[in-house]
Symmetry: C2
Subunit: 305 residues, 2 copies
Amino acid sequence: MINKLVEEIKKKNAPIVVGLDPMLNYVPQQIQKAAFEEYGETLEGAAEAIWQFNKGIVDATYDLIPAVKPQIAMYEQFGLPGMAAFKKTVDYCKEKGLIVIGDVKRGDIGSTSAAYAVGHLGKVQVGSKSYYGFDEDFATVNPYLGSDGINPFLDVCKEEKKGIFVLVKTSNPSSGEFQDQKIDGKPLYELVGEKVAQWGEECMGDTYSYVGCVVGATYPEMGKVLRKIMPKTYILVPGYGAQGGTAKDLAPYFNSDGLGAIVNSSRGIIAAYKKDTYAKYGEANYADASRQAVVDMIEDINSVL
Amino acid sequence: MINKLVEEIKKKNAPIVVGLDPMLNYVPQQIQKAAFEEYGETLEGAAEAIWQFNKGIVDATYDLIPAVKPQIAMYEQFGLPGMAAFKKTVDYCKEKGLIVIGDVKRGDIGSTSAAYAVGHLGKVQVGSKSYYGFDEDFATVNPYLGSDGINPFLDVCKEEKKGIFVLVKTSNPSSGEFQDQKIDGKPLYELVGEKVAQWGEECMGDTYSYVGCVVGATYPEMGKVLRKIMPKTYILVPGYGAQGGTAKDLAPYFNSDGLGAIVNSSRGIIAAYKKDTYAKYGEANYADASRQAVVDMIEDINSVL
């Protein structure tokens, strides 16, 4: 799957991923109204609204982008109907040829981590049959529990030719509380980065590893160091746009081949119509605003490569 | 909810929690057969099997125990039907008066962490109405992202009078890869423990905080130190039994009031019938075996308090 991701990024000349993280208040009134008319102001109604919202954005942008990153928390908050909307979104994006990075940040140990890996990337055995659960192409994984948490994911990745992105340095202001703490003079995130490189060696695609990592756009100096520590690791970069990361911050995350990083924008794309720059599209044409925001983001990022 | 947990532990004289982590191969043949006859060898069939299995164990043990800890990964692996079985299990346990600790190990930042908090502990707003999603009483949370990940949970905990258990030192062999790394001479898990104590101060119940932590039974020396760092923090202790932790290892996790810790056993209880000690019950009476294993575990743990 990492080979496919690299190919699609090259083909579309777009090292970006759209974060499908729908808040209900991003969803235009007409979509909410239609959903609530059909299902009432219920969890089912909310799930229908975010699904229709997503569909509009995917239809308007899929030809421009290699991948999407649905943030499962935004669906999970609506309970079971929300989870169903997540699954519907994953399936629809795959139908449209998009690579789906499930931003699930799961992480546990042994058989429990294996269950997450199976549920999100692999097949579960039921009697004599086997089934995919949520069936994303990549999943984000939390490293706090060490190799016992990661290895079960690697097993599934090898079998399914799928991949993971391990949290290394997150984009938020307080990420330093633990991640920046110095261990023998070296911050924890570097130590995690070294492990990611090591885990990645056993899961190599053609040029990059199936084991990627997450490094926030908001910490470019650290991105530069981490790029060197993990030369064959794809870096998923959140924090561009709404969180303050700019295109010029992003150059150090890429390798000299112009590859090696994929930049995420969520709010900046899916709620583009709420920004002054794209307000002219109007709420009803929110998907057109998202398309234009994708075009502009691709141009912005390619300008520094 | 921490007050209720303490009360129930005292009332039942049982500082234990049963981990409802059903693997399909724990489920007795007759239950699997009935579920597959009704739903086929499908995800729905698997979900029905684990739900019926859980129900049997809950019916046989609820009068003895204060709490259960369903591990969501074991449900999530069966996709949407699995998530429905998780929700059914949570609801049924609450009907039976049990406190439900959702072992979800979620963790993200800002509005995303808030969405997880709302989905698992709180209410989500849909138009003019609000709904509980999964509605556990406690959730386990991963601290790698720092305060930005924890604070949204604290907000929901305060509103709902619910609680969290933050991973501090996990029970697995490789937990030391990052958690034991020394920062100014002090291991990372101590630093996380200090933050847990700090987060907990703003969410105090009568004697213990709404912010608990997770420390594995397999590291009693560390448990002893962490107990002192977090005197008002309830410690959820995995790793007893199947993972190698013994009752005498557990004494340091408790305070002198005989409280302050709750010990989890999953496989040791729910798959008791597969162990030599309880094999006499037979597969058909798996729930009776689980009940006896609960009785024995309570006695074992109380013997060191």
